[in-house]
């Protein structure tokens, strides 16, 4: 129990703390620490206790803490040492937890912030962590926290969200086509998982909101891979074909070291195109399970696109010249892929068949027309996003046309 700090006629009586029958082996040090915190360095408190041996415990505690101790008739007199302040001299303040506060997110987060929560005070001498992505303008998005919150709210459990027992029976050729499209989508989603995951490990934790977005993006992709695989295997199929050209296209995404450029190629162009594909599958897939999967995955991918767009809009607002770098990246990627065949024939044909739903000339004609419409939708989507990023129309059209034929 703590008695009041009393002042009588200019005479300060020491603070008296009675730890009663609480030992320092049971938490009494908290009462003493609290008391010491209320007196200045060099100030004194008096402690009394009842538990047998409390004096020995107090001696040990004061010795370890660096406080002077003397026993008198009225109790144990502890003189507060300044040693504890020493640990925090030269400490670093790391912004604020609330990103809205002024100075909350530093333009350059330092290696010595390490893994500390943003806003924490970090002791001098803490180890330095080499996070490559440590500059705000390279990674930041003002609405990252909102996008993360939306993502958390929109998470879905494949077991609950998809009716895996919905009845359907497809011709073998169409089921094969579904398996091929799923094979292709899994491959693409592997890229969409690995790219943010790699950046996640390189991102300074100071940019907590961006870290959270990337983390949940990775979780989204893991879920997509799971449900695509599950759909693929529903009728006893194994994954089908993976082409060198498709993999070469995805490899250029993994090879891109710049966060913004990778986000542009993967999220804005690639996943943006993928949203069109998923919407197509939602509308035209021949079975209810594929349609449900496509609808749910499309929602997630749209968020990924939104994050990429928001980040790029912020960066381009501050660095308009960065547009040239983005344009060059599309051209370089196009050059790198010029020797490949683009979207594999099997996937293209499978999409037609899948949209046809049956193996008849009339149905195939419908499927073919739908895939053509998909191609137009994808190209328009790319163009629209490029225009929103401030590219001139002529450039935007050229870049939209140069985008990989692999879709992603």
């Amino acid at each position: 129990m703590m008695k009041n700090f009393m002042m009588q006629k200019e005479i300060f009586l020491p603070l008296i703390i009675d730890i009663e029958d609480l030992g320092l082996d049971a938490g009494a040090h908290l009462l003493i620490k609290h008391g010491l915190a209320s007196v200045p360095v060099g100030g004194e408190i008096v402690v009394s206790g009842r538990v047998p041996g409390w004096e020995a415990q107090l001696s040990a505690w004061c010795r370890a803490q660096g406080h002077a101790l003397a026993f008198a008739a009225d109790g144990a007199h502890i003189t507060r040492s300044d040693i504890h302040a020493g640990r925090w001299r030269g400490a670093t303040q790391t912004g604020h937890a609330d990103p809205q506060q002024h100075g909350a997110v530093h333009e350059h987060s330092l290696p010595c912030y390490g893994l500390a929560a943003r806003g924490a005070t970090v002791e001098a001498g803490a180890p330095e962590y080499a996070f490559r992505l440590d500059k705000k303008h390279e990674v930041w998005t003002d609405n990252a926290a909102d996008l993360y919150a939306q993502a958390v709210a929109a998470q879905w459990d494949p077991e609950q969200a998809i009716d895996w027992h919905a009845p359907f029976d497809l011709p073998a050729e169409v089921e094969d086509a579904v398996a091929q499209v799923m094979t292709y989508m899994i491959e693409n989603e592997n890229a969409a998982l690995v790219v943010p995951a790699r950046f996640l490990g390189q991102l300074h934790p100071h940019f907590r909101e961006v870290q959270a977005v990337l983390a949940i993006q990775v979780a989204d992709e893991a879920r997509h891979i799971e449900v695509f695989t599950r759909r693929l295997r529903m009728r006893g199929r194994e994954p089908a074909l993976s082409t060198a050209g498709g993999q070469a296209s995805l490899k250029t995404l993994l090879d891109e070291a710049d966060f913004s450029v990778a986000g542009f190629l993967l999220s804005v162009l690639g996943e943006g195109t993928f949203v069109s594909l998923l919407n197509f599958l939602h509308e035209h897939a021949p079975d209810p399970v594929t349609r449900q999967i496509a609808r749910l995955a499309s929602r997630d991918e749209a968020r990924h696109v939104a994050f990429g767009m928001a980040h790029l809009l912020r960066r381009l607002e501050r660095e308009p010249e960065f547009r040239t770098r983005l344009a060059n990246a599309v051209e370089a990627r196009n050059d790198a892929l010029s020797g490949t065949s683009g979207l594999n024939e099997e996937v293209f044909d499978a999409l037609i068949l899948l949209a046809a739903g049956e193996f008849t000339p009339a149905a195939i004609a419908i499927g073919y027309a739908r895939v053509q419409a998909l191609m137009i939708d994808m190209a328009e989507g790319r163009l629209g996003r490029l225009l929103r990023l401030g590219f001139e129309e002529k450039t935007a059209r050229r870049l939209a046309a140069l985008h990989t034929r692999n879709f992603m």
């Binding site: 030992g23 320092l24 082996d25 049971a26 938490g27 538990v51 047998p52 041996g53 004096e55 020995a56 415990q57 001696s59 040990a60 505690w61 010795r63 370890a64 660096g66 040492s81 040693i83 020493g86 640990r87 001299r89 030269g90 002791e123 001098a124 001498g125």
Partner: protein, 288 residues
């Protein structure tokens, strides 16, 4: 190259290498040539202070007592030149389970016929000084109580607190009736959960004694020793470069050495017949 000041230390735990490598680096930053030799036990370290191997040694209190006696027998002098703030005025406490009938009052008569846990044979804090304390209360091992030793890493003078921890665990397991430990270890074992809060009670406490010190050998170069002590005193807790070393070594500041805190141990060493007046080892069952 200037001959470095050579210090001896006992490797009672792997961290000892980290500590002294860190000190070596610190001294080198201040243009002071320093090196160290690690020993597996204090006995050989103290002996090396008299054959020209060591200029200085980081000695346990028992090693200090021996060094002092060996020096005296040779007509030489050793000096305690520095110690940690946490080396001053330690006490050991005898702990029982809360439900024990043993009480602090009545000259500890409740300990008659009981089994008491001690640390290593060569531990000043958990064997020699506690036995001395009980002797002053009229209690002798074998006659009045049964002593059970928790002997870990002999030759390290109890620096390894494992013996005290084993005794504390045996106490909670009901294998012994009481256990000795340094006052600070009573708190440490409580933090670790080895001794649940409120599950134990202190029934006896030894007088205050001092712990380790840097002992300068008889022939140590005075200037170098003075510079060594000066650099130790300069090690500030505020300095993030040296704070980790101080934390590892368990201190906040270095103090000048004092020899006033070893009387209890010297008496215990005689009573327990651990060393003779010349520093020869008497304890027959002591292996190191």
């Amino acid at each position: 190259m200037t001959r470095p000041l050579i210090m001896g230390a006992v490797a009672y735990a792997p961290k000892v290498v980290t500590i002294w490598e860190g000190f070596k680096e610190y001294f080198r930053r201040h243009d002071f040539e320093f090196d160290f030799i690690l020993y597996s036990n204090y006995e050989r370290q103290v002996e090396a202070q008299f054959d020209g191997t060591l200029d200085i040694a980081w000695n346990s209190p028992l090693a200090w007592v021996r060094a002092q006696r060996m020096a005296l027998a040779r007509g030489q002098t050793v000096r305690a030149v520095a110690m940690r703030d946490t080396d001053c005025d330690l006490t050991s406490v005898l702990v029982v389970r809360s439900d024990s009938a043993v009480v602090a009052s009545g000259g500890l008569s409740g300990l008659h016929g009981k089994t008491i846990g001690f640390g290593a044979l060569d531990s000043p804090q958990a064997n020699l000084i506690p036995r001395d304390h009980l002797r002053t209360q009229g209690l002798l091992a074998g006659r009045d109580y049964t002593a059970r030793r928790f002997d870990l890493l002999s030759g390290k003078h109890g620096d390894h607190i494992g013996g005290e921890r084993d005794a504390a665990q045996a106490l909670m397991a009901g294998e012994i009736d009481a256990a000795w430990m340094i006052d600070g270890n009573h708190l440490a074992f409580s933090r670790e959960g080895v001794l649940p809060a409120g599950a134990t009670r202190i029934v006896a406490r030894t007088g205050a004694y001092d712990h380790c010190n840097f002992t300068a050998s008889p022939d140590a170069p005075t200037d170098a020793v003075d510079r060594f002590v000066g650099l130790l005193s300069d090690m500030a807790w505020d300095d993030p470069d040296v704070r980790p070393l101080l934390e590892l070594e368990g201190l906040k500041a270095w103090r000048s050495g004092r020899t006033s805190g070893y009387a209890l141990l010297a008496r215990a060493v005689d009573d327990e017949k651990f060393y003779d007046a010349k520093g020869n080892i008497l304890a027959a069952d002591y292996r190191y």
